[in-house]
């Protein structure tokens, strides 16, 4: 490999890395297709998705087009430590413009689902899941001064004030993959 000059970022040779990982038992592309990115294989790397992606715009490493290429080459380990998929705002500009109906958003989220299985999940996401299970709201606040200030009852008409509904939601969540993963305590 040619040594880069000072100040020039190292160039990742994706083909070289993929050679190493080709030995992986299960192909990463099959895993992410299983997790919702069925159309990944139709990508022709035209770059339409990258042109409209907010993550690409502000310099995240594995934005949509590059992530898809990496997956098609068989990369996995390189992706697990990177926060890019968790920064995706799910805006779906990419889905709108993709001429091959790949839905790069689905690829981003399929990679999240793969990362979750490897416990590569941000603390904030765990906190959101815990709040969703405990209260029925991923964003939950105990301070209710703001509601009172604007003349509303302290509690909204949600699981927050409906015990039966919260119990129903917990039953649903306990019957999903979330329970199998064991990421959060899920008591009755």
């Amino acid at each position: 490999m040619i040594e880069p000059e000072e100040g020039v970022p190292t160039i990742l040779n994706l083909s070289e890395i993929s050679e190493r990982e080709r030995e992986e038992e299960e192909k990463v592309v099959d895993i992410v297709r299983e997790f919702g990115a069925e159309n990944l294989i139709y990508c022709m790397q035209c770059g339409s998705c990258a042109a409209v992606c907010p993550l690409a715009r502000v310099g995240f490493e594995w934005y949509n087009k590059k992530l898809i290429k990496a997956l098609l080459l068989g990369l996995k380990e390189e992706l697990l430590d990177d926060p890019t998929p968790w920064a995706c705002v799910a805006c779906n500009r990419c889905t709108e413009v993709c001429p091959r109906r790949v839905s790069p958003f689905e690829v981003m989220f399929a990679v999240r689902r793969m990362m979750v299985e490897e416990f590569a999940i941000p603390t904030l996401a765990i906190e959101g899941l815990r709040a969703l299970y405990e209260y029925g709201h991923a964003v939950y606040m105990t301070g209710r001064e703001a509601r009172k200030k604007v003349g509303l009852p302290e509690k909204p008409p949600s699981t927050d004030s409906d015990e039966k509904a919260l119990k129903d939601l917990k039953t649903i969540l306990r019957n999903t993959k979330l329970a199998e993963l064991g990421l959060i305590p899920m008591n009755d």
Partner: protein
Amino acid sequence: MIADVVKNESKNEGKLKYGLFLGCNIPFNRPDVEQAMRKIFPALGVEIDDLMGQSCCPTWGTMPSIDIVAWCAVAARNLCLGEEKGIDLMTACNSCYGSLNEARHKMLTNPDILKSVNDILSKIGKKYEGRAKCRHVAWVLYKDVGLERIKESIKYTLDDITIAVQPGCHFLWPSEVYPDKEEDPFNPKVLRELCEVLGAEAPYYSKLVDCCGMGALRSTDPEKSFTLVKEKLECIKEELDADLIVTTCSSCLIQLDDAQERLRKSGKLNFSIPVLHYVQLLALCMGFDPEQVAGISVTPRDEIIDKIINKR
């Protein structure tokens, strides 16, 4: 499958009634937006149901990041609350609008997903038929209430006020999953027309459809998030010199309002533009109490509210 979707539309039978889907950020973080909706809709002849027992939509960082069936199951329980009453949901939060409609689209186009979801729902005695959907309040105002009725209902007009509109991502894309669609989602007109009918100018600007940087982007990397919002704000200042930013998304509202103050405090921004959700702006124009319908903000709003109400 499209035919099935149409066949499954909820019937409102002439009268306008919707289940008010709140989400999380609005009731806990920005309840003035909730109060604005509770004021304007009955006054415009739209009945609202509380959808007692509703939960988080679920938002992107939770179930959608775990498993598709799990995502759809939580969304379906919320949709069922409307379906059982024969009404659609409506929301002022783009994330809820996106998550609920993407989940519905998955369930309607993939029978395996719908079957798995209904197997789970059967444990709580529910079943989702695919009828109820989630509408966006801006579309309900634009299509169901109509611009004429809005015009007739207002007490104050927005003369000499220039608005920079921020429709927000999940108002627009992916257009395939939404019950209402802009003619061109990269050049949206609905929010501009909703502002113009109040008497304001709401011109195009070059970063109109750009992302505000909220949500997962901000929680993952605040610095990158603030880069995006700063560029957007500077564009609004330079191209429009806007008096006000108006959005149809509660996340955009929080980001544009709150990040603006953070940028000022760190010396990266030297101007201030107040931000309102459209339902708040309409509530102000209809004459409702500013403390109740627009009382919570980080970037000051007093001046613009005074200008609207007292024409100062």
